[in-house]
């Protein structure tokens, strides 16, 4: 019990004194996750809208594929992208492996299906009169779709927040594509895994507390949006 109490005390000290390593890992986690989710939103929201309002052959198959992609293990995503970015891979010449950019790519791939799926649900559940009203008032299909997104904005924001929740807490992609390089690609999750295995439990606990706080804020925000 003393071990846990002592570790917790040390962890809180690391957080409160803004330990450089802790802050560095938190910062890397936050900026790669934010960049990843923004890119995922740029792809996932239009795709989700298209699938949500569209009536086309194969729509059910596309939805099944999206659901499958949503449940992809993070290490599988990491593995596939590793194949593309590794020195022998088709994009190896870009030298992106073990950089924050590689992590952002991985997190985009990981969260885009989540954003798309949540957007499909928000759009498909919207009042069907939104598009017709916009069209009959003179909007083109693109403008009408934009109006639809504005009307279901809380659902779409929930999609983005859910995606962010997934990427901030994942470890597979960050580890495989970032390489857990200290001060460069080390995130909260990869640092927790490494430092704990090295016996630095207090350090891992400090990051764990920060991560749990972020997760709590994300979930509170998500609940708030889903109530709207």
């Amino acid at each position: 019990m003393d071990f846990l109490t002592e570790s917790l005390r040390a962890a809180l000290a690391l957080i409160l004194t803004l330990d450089a390593e802790v802050v560095g890992a938190v910062w890397t986690s936050l900026y790669t996750s934010v960049a990843g989710i923004l890119l995922a939103a740029a792809v996932g929201i239009p795709v989700g809208t298209l699938i949500g309002v569209g009536r086309f052959t194969g729509r059910r198959a596309v939805l099944t594929l999206l659901n499958t992609l949503m449940a992809l293990p993070t290490v599988v995503v990491g593995l596939v992208i590793y194949g593309f970015l590794s020195r022998q891979g088709p994009l190896g010449a870009l030298g992106l492996l073990f950089t924050p950019v590689a992590m952002i790519i991985g997190q985009t791939v990981l969260s885009a299906p989540i954003v798309a799926n949540y957007t499909v649900a928000a759009v498909a559940g919207a009042d069907p009169r939104i598009m017709t009203t916009a069209l009959t008032l003179g909007a083109g299909r693109l403008r009408a779709a934009w109006q639809l997104l504005l009307e279901v904005r809380f659902g779409v924001m929930a999609a983005v927040v859910a995606g962010f929740g997934r990427v901030i807490a994942e470890v597979g992609v960050a580890m495989m594509l970032g390489g857990n390089i200290r001060g460069y690609t080390r995130t909260m999750t990869t640092a927790i895994a490494l430092e704990t295995s090295k016996g630095e439990f207090a350090f891992g606990l400090a990051l764990g507390l920060v991560l749990m706080t972020v997760a709590l804020i994300v979930n509170l925000f998500l609940n708030l949006l889903q109530q709207r």
Partner: protein, 233 residues
């Protein structure tokens, strides 16, 4: 003069259950038409086709003599035809925002936009309503805002799907006086209705649909006779 809207050999299928089939039907500018017929006759579908919201499966729709094509052409023409649905949808925001939506798309902004919106609200008896939240209005007020939202665009053709169904007695005369004034401004008004007396009040031409087919264009007088014989509209 070219009809403002003309249908020629038009066919529209909805599943295996329903087909709208109209050989020839012309709508002249500046007149009021009333679509009558039982539920499921195809009145709302015809309005959606006339509003260029649905493409026909066969046949053609002409707007002011021009055959309506797909894509951008349809969209451009749609700016001259506005449909007020039976149960109008209000966008999230104020009454003003709702009326400004179509005007912004037509690049009407600033003082001109404000003037047109306030004037349209006054016409439907809702002066002072511009700052109200549109979703918090009563059913009757929502219908009147929807009418104002359509009129403010000054369309060449105004389509209304059972606009007065469920409207309170006090609002009805004002609503109908707005509609009756539109032909004087060159607007063609096409209304689907179950209200038998509306044709007399609005002095419109009655078009009767049954099972997706046009029975016959009727004058107001013949519609009244028809009603007297059949006992219903």
């Amino acid at each position: 003069m070219d009809p403002i809207l003309a249908l020629h050999n038009l066919e529209y299928r909805r599943g295996d259950q329903f087909t709208l089939n109209i050989g020839q039907l012309d709508f002249q500018p500046g007149r009021i038409y009333l679509l009558a017929g039982p539920n499921g006759a195809g009145k709302s579908t015809l309005l959606q086709l006339l509003g260029l919201l649905l493409p026909p499966d066969r046949g053609e729709i002409r707007f002011a003599g021009t055959v309506v094509q797909g894509g951008a052409h349809r969209q451009r023409l749609r700016r001259q035809v506005t449909l007020v649905e039976q149960s109008p949808f209000m966008f999230d925001g104020t009454v003003y925002d709702n009326l400004a939506f179509g005007l912004r798309l037509r690049d009407v902004r600033g003082d001109l936009q404000r003037h047109r919106i306030l004037s349209a609200l006054e016409k439907v008896g809702l002066q002072g309503f511009e700052s109200r939240q549109a979703r918090l209005l009563s059913g009757g007020e929502t219908r009147r805002v929807a009418l104002a939202r359509a009129m403010v665009l000054r369309p060449k053709v105004l389509l209304l799907d059972e606009p007065t169904a469920g409207l309170d007695r006090d609002s009805l005369p004002l609503f109908e006086s707005c509609l009756a004034a539109l032909p004087g401004e060159g607007v063609t008004v096409i209304i689907s209705t179950h209200d038998a007396d509306q044709s007399r009040r609005l002095r419109g031409e009655v078009l009767r649909l049954e099972a997706g087919r046009l029975i016959s264009p009727e004058t107001v007088e013949s519609a009244i006779t028809y009603r007297a014989v059949k006992g219903s509209f």
